[in-house]
Amino acid sequence: MQDKLGNGCKPTAQDGQRRPLSRVVAVEDDPDIRAVVDLALGHVGGLAVTCCDGGRVALEVVPAIDPDLVLLDVMMPGMDGLETLTRLRLDPRNRLVRVVFMTARVQPHHRADYLARGALGVIAKPFDPLTLAQQLRQLHATVDLSRGSTG
């Protein structure tokens, strides 16, 4: 099932147990966009946001923060978003972490690839900073958060 943006949404019977979106780790190499994401999710969106400048840092930060969601840039030097997601999943602590990609590459075959890799959804760049947090909340609200019922 996909929403109107082509994101993979899976409403479940456990929706009533979900934990509201609160903590987000954002991974973005561009300092300007990172600053906008920080502002958009924190100041505008009222979320607790931790920003990382690359995938390698994210591998350390994500299990430490235990976020509700990881917002992950795709094209980054060194370790790109796709490899970062793969490596995150190799760590049992991150097995259930929800990941949303943020990228300018949002053609249907790109989206299909991201979802097949286990991403919850895709935010297209350029994004609207004033609605970014709301978009993430909507994606988060549609996923099975079985982990949310256990803390």
Binding site: D29, D32, H43, V44, K125, P129
Partner: protein, 119 residues
């Protein structure tokens, strides 16, 4: 922190900072093109593609659509294997024009602040 209830643009400060740094980003792109033309490895082209990609993304996010489009066009050409310079030159001209327009719109006080930080 809850969103501000005032009507000010929460992005204004970041947008101005981005605009003030645009000339530096343009200079970096021009340097990469020069290095690539000098016949060095394709790594220059990869770096050019990355720089153009970043500029396109951030310019678009800040609402500078024309600059974003110019950078995205450059990124698309840089993704090709050994693209002819004839295809890059006009894109650089457009990119430079858009960047200059943006820089010209930055308040002088912001440029002075940037220069002070840089020195």
């Amino acid at each position: 922190m809850p969103p501000s209830t005032c009507q000010e643009d929460p992005l204004a400060e970041l947008r101005a900072r981005f605009a003030a740094r645009t000339q530096e980003r343009l200079a970096a792109i021009l340097d990469l093109v020069a290095g690539w033309r000098a016949g060095t490895a394709n790594a220059q082209l990869d770096e050019l593609r990355r720089e153009a990609h970043q500029l396109a993304g951030s310019a678009g996010t800040f609402g500078f659509a024309a600059l974003a489009e110019a950078a995205a066009s450059l990124e698309a050409v840089a993704e090709q294997d050994d693209p002819p310079f004839d295809t890059i030159q006009p894109l650089l001209t457009v990119l430079t024009a858009q960047a200059n327009r943006l820089v010209a719109a930055v308040p002088a006080s912001r440029r002075r602040e940037r220069d002070r930080v840089a020195t």
